[in-house]
Subunit: 174 residues, 2 copies
């Protein structure tokens, strides 16, 4: 498998309720509107399993029968589900995405990973992550007085809609 993907990856990280989900959707919409084939990936940060995709469907039955991986394809859609016990790295996930030739992958979470990141900082404490986490290219803060001495561009949540292209540009490296 390749160790280097052919598309830029941008991670959106931050603590719970820091606005990661909204930011993901803003970036997805902006990039898609620019004509980029945009993919997303979210880390489900709970130790419990995901809710099964289709309780009661054939795929669900296949899992119950013992399949470790099930898929259903048709009508222009494809759904794949990997059952419990999967151990997969972000690198492996990216290799899977590579099959579908995205122009951009937006990732929510996985903050210990190495890709360019946007940090969502609701509080001053959140802001401290900028010193702990690798490869933060931009910070989106909720408080006016957060524009500090750090060497990373800081944006304010209220006006972020005007800076989405800049955020993507700051993170873009292939």
């Amino acid at each position: 498998m390749p160790d280097k993907q052919s598309f830029p990856i941008i991670q959106v990280i931050g603590y719970k309720n820091s606005g990661k989900t909204t930011m993901m959707n803003r970036l997805i919409r902006y990039a898609s509107d620019q004509g980029l084939r945009t993919a997303s990936l979210k880390h489900h940060g709970h130790s419990d399993s995901l809710e099964p995709m289709h309780s009661g469907t054939d795929s669900f039955q296949h899992h119950e029968s013992g399949a470790f991986l099930t898929g259903v394809e048709g009508g222009g859609s494809l759904q794949l589900e990997f059952g419990k016990g999967l151990e997969v790295s972000l690198r492996q996930l990216i290799n899977i995405y590579e099959n579908f030739s995205p122009n951009l992958l937006l990732v929510e979470g996985y903050k210990r990973e190495v890709y360019p990141k946007i940090l969502m900082a609701r509080t001053n404490e959140d802001f401290e992550l900028v010193h702990e986490i690798a490869n933060i290219r931009a910070v989106v803060c909720w408080e006016k007085d957060m524009e500090s001495s750090i060497d990373v561009p800081v944006f304010h949540i209220e006006t972020i809609e005007d800076h989405l292209g800049e955020l993507i540009y700051l993170c873009k490296e292939v």
Copy 2:
């Protein structure tokens, strides 16, 4: 991408209500119980789209925002969904499955494809598919008088539970 997968593929085909789904689950259970890493794929044979994986979830929002591919990973599970308009061949799907090193892939549908097949024949009319479809290795019939002159092993649905290993063996080719 490789043109030849490293694992056997078995297709289960037949008309509606011929018992494909039950047969899929029997084969998945049998193979899994044998210790095989068993994957499944079902062709959704309707022209309408699949029901969205998680209406109301973040993944669903990402699709609404324009992402062509969304994923959520955590707690040992992974769910991937490809939005509307995807055109993907069985060959491409198999290449994706290859990333996860299955020992066996059971496929429901895609009867025009080339892989070894089990034909489910509820009626004598169904049985005629054996002359139209490539690479049928076994027929599972519902009527006693179906054991005909064809050159393919025929099994009866009532006793199929005792012949699952044989069915897999007949279809196995990598």
